[in-house]
Amino acid sequence: MKDHPIQLLDAYHDGELDAESEQRVSRHLQACSTCRAALEGLENLSRLLAAHPPEPPPFALESALGGIQRRLPARQPTFWERTLQTGWQAIPGMIIASWLFLEAAFVLLILMQIFQGLGLWSAWLTPLPRVAAIPLNVFVLWHLGGSSLLGLLVLSWISGWWIRSRTIAANKVPLGSV
């Protein structure tokens, strides 16, 4: 018999052929004693290997854990982790900058109102639009509200930082003591 599917016998033996190829090899095997013998050789070899697996002596897991712990480097953060971390660290700065901006805007608006009240507006502030006559108490409320909101954000950030640092400290458990 010609065209022995020798190359497919291993895959047939391992059950790795698709249905069509498997059927083709099965049909061939029924008619070919050479390939049947080759397949039997593969089966015997697998049985022999299974009967004598190179079983390792037991590994000392605790000692391995200790070895890994000693050699385990600090994990390098990914690009996104670094970005997130930088963003997180920049939050207080951004809050303070926002607060300074609000304060400056508040002071400027107060000054502009005072200038308008003194009739100095038209003299040297003509390029600027006239400020609507907003009552002082509204200004103060805006100012207090904005400052309080920013203060709350700062407090939230500090709380987040504290919780995060506690979590990180709790996670720094040596591998060997797990």
Partner: protein, 187 residues
Amino acid sequence: MGAAFIEEPDRILIVRAQQGDRAAFGELVRRHYPPIAAMVFRMCENHDMAQDMAQETFIRGWEKLNLYRPIAPFRSWLYRIAANATIDALRRIQPSLDLESLPLPDPAPGPERQVESSDQAAQVRQAIRRLPLASRSVLVLREYEGLSYKEIALTLNIPIGTVMSRLSSARKRLGMLLQTMLEEEIR
């Protein structure tokens, strides 16, 4: 501390370890170290080296943990690291053998049936050890770790066709080696 992780599936532990949780990673080491070390031992037949390579596997795993995606089992991912680390180490120790340049024996039934001496196990181990590294890795992953061809291909980063040809070559060569040993024993 370890008890807290006993019921945790790998997936959760991996996510926690990816966030830098060393205790979660420790639990993963506990779960996967023995099979990884055993697999490496079957490839190199050296207990100390198996321990070193298994440790190296987990250290590399920790460093590359953010690259792991749960599209394949975690153990397969570790197998891949372990196999590569072991092959690299063995290549440093042994001169590289080119599988393709090796003569293949005739595809006749192997003599393994006849090998029935009391030191059969030692002979089998010796024969495996004498296989070229590339085919030995495929044989071990298939015969002892029970990986599918696709898993072996992923583990060793080679095409499935190469897995098939290496496995076929490994088995034929193993048969030939066992036959030679048997003949030497008879003499």
